[in-house]
């Protein structure tokens, strides 16, 4: 704790404390985020999106109506169509019960949201099924940690 410590010594002493690393990382995030805000006007939105999203409030499947006929073939947009020749939008995969629910009530869209897989929006893009597998694995690992820590002291 000498008063005339060098500049480098001070930096080294600061980042040698674990508690300060969080603040340092947050500072980095803020700097890059500000740079991002500055450069944001120069980034153009690409109109030809691979995974388009449209909202149709009148539909009973609202916010998740992607179009398509159940039990029929629906032409889909995909990066590599040859990898998923039989895929359609999620509406194509409604079971008869879900179809009946969607026809008679207005709650089918919310039912999808309330479904454990439904909060994972990617399930609605059937060409990106691997993402769904990884997302559920993350949830599973997080639950495993939480349950281990919770049950450790009994």
């Amino acid at each position: 704790m000498t008063p005339n410590r060098s500049f480098i010594t001070r930096i080294s002493a600061t980042i040698s404390r674990v508690e300060n690393l969080t603040a340092l990382y947050a500072l980095l995030v803020v700097i890059v985020a500000v740079l991002g805000l500055v450069t944001l006007p120069f980034i153009a939105y690409h109109d030809d999106q691979l995974y388009p999203k449209t909202l149709n409030p009148a539909s009973t499947l609202d916010p998740y109506d992607r179009g398509g006929v159940p039990f029929g073939t629906t032409p889909i947009k995909a990066q590599y169509l040859e990898n998923s020749p039989y895929a359609g939008y999620v509406t194509t995969y409604l079971t008869p019960f879900s179809q009946w629910l969607a026809d008679t009530t207005h709650h089918m869209g919310t039912t999808i949201v309330a479904h454990p897989g439904g909060i994972i929006d990617e399930i609605l893009y059937n060409t990106r099924g691997f993402d769904t597998v990884v997302e559920t694995s993350i949830l599973f690992v997080a639950f495993a940690i939480a349950s281990y820590l919770f049950r450790r002291d009994e």
Partner: protein, 222 residues
């Protein structure tokens, strides 16, 4: 089926594994990283935890530290999960899929270090948890900017010269991986490497190192 548009960095394409739009690929670069992660996952599966002996100075006394079966089982599970996430992150050919695997590596790293009972280790794990959670913002933000500005997430498209990825998306990706891969700092600071159950800790280092190597390849190729 495909050809890597930019073979200077990863080398020529060797093998492709299709999951719909997500196409995992093995080039010499990713194959080496994959083999390395696979080797360490196998080591974690077969290895036994380190049993430490503390020697009391000034006498003949020493005492051994017990590794609880519960702790061992949980840490081995987390280390294997971390290894599998690393395997996925090494070969995936999709930006969003890569960010998912990166955040899974971050969560399993938290799990490995959070299993201890030492106070200073738990403090470090808590601090790392905050950083890893904060890092998901730039990580997924980077993937979102890539998608909105180019319209695609597939690396096979993004690596071509025709598609220009904004610099800020790359910066966000690197920053996110920095946060998720920051665990070795905390490990070194809290001196967890020599704590009981030592071999599983090494998975944290391996996964962070490989994650950095992979994100560098992605960012340079884009």
């Amino acid at each position: 089926m495909f050809n890597l548009p930019n073979p200077q960095i990863g080398g020529p394409e060797l093998f492709v594994l299709e999951f719909g739009d997500i196409v995992a690929y093995f080039s010499p670069y990713t194959a080496v990283l994959f083999a390395f992660a696979l080797l360490f996952t196998v080591l974690v599966i077969v290895s036994r935890p380190e049993r430490q002996v503390d020697i009391a100075f000034g006498g003949d006394a020493y005492y051994t530290k017990e590794v609880e079966p519960d702790l061992l089982r949980f840490q081995r599970f987390m280390a294997i999960a971390c290894g599998l996430a690393t395997l996925g992150a090494m070969v995936t050919g999709d930006v969003f899929n890569f960010t998912l695997f990166a955040s899974m590596i971050g969560i399993t790293n938290i799990g490995i270090v959070a299993a201890y009972r030492n106070r200073h280790v738990l403090n470090a794990a808590f601090q790392y948890g905050i950083v890893a959670m904060l890092a998901t913002v730039p990580l997924f933000g980077g993937a979102a900017i890539v998608l909105s500005s180019t319209g695609t997430l597939s690396m096979w498209e993004l690596f071509t010269a025709a598609v220009a990825v904004p610099l800020i998306a790359k910066a966000f990706l690197v920053l996110g991986v920095m946060g998720e891969g920051m665990a070795p700092f905390y490990i070194a600071k809290a001196e967890i490497t020599r704590a009981q159950g030592a071999p599983f800790i090494l998975m944290v280092h391996v996964s962070s190192l490989l994650l950095f190597l992979r994100v560098m390849e992605i960012v340079i190729s884009m």
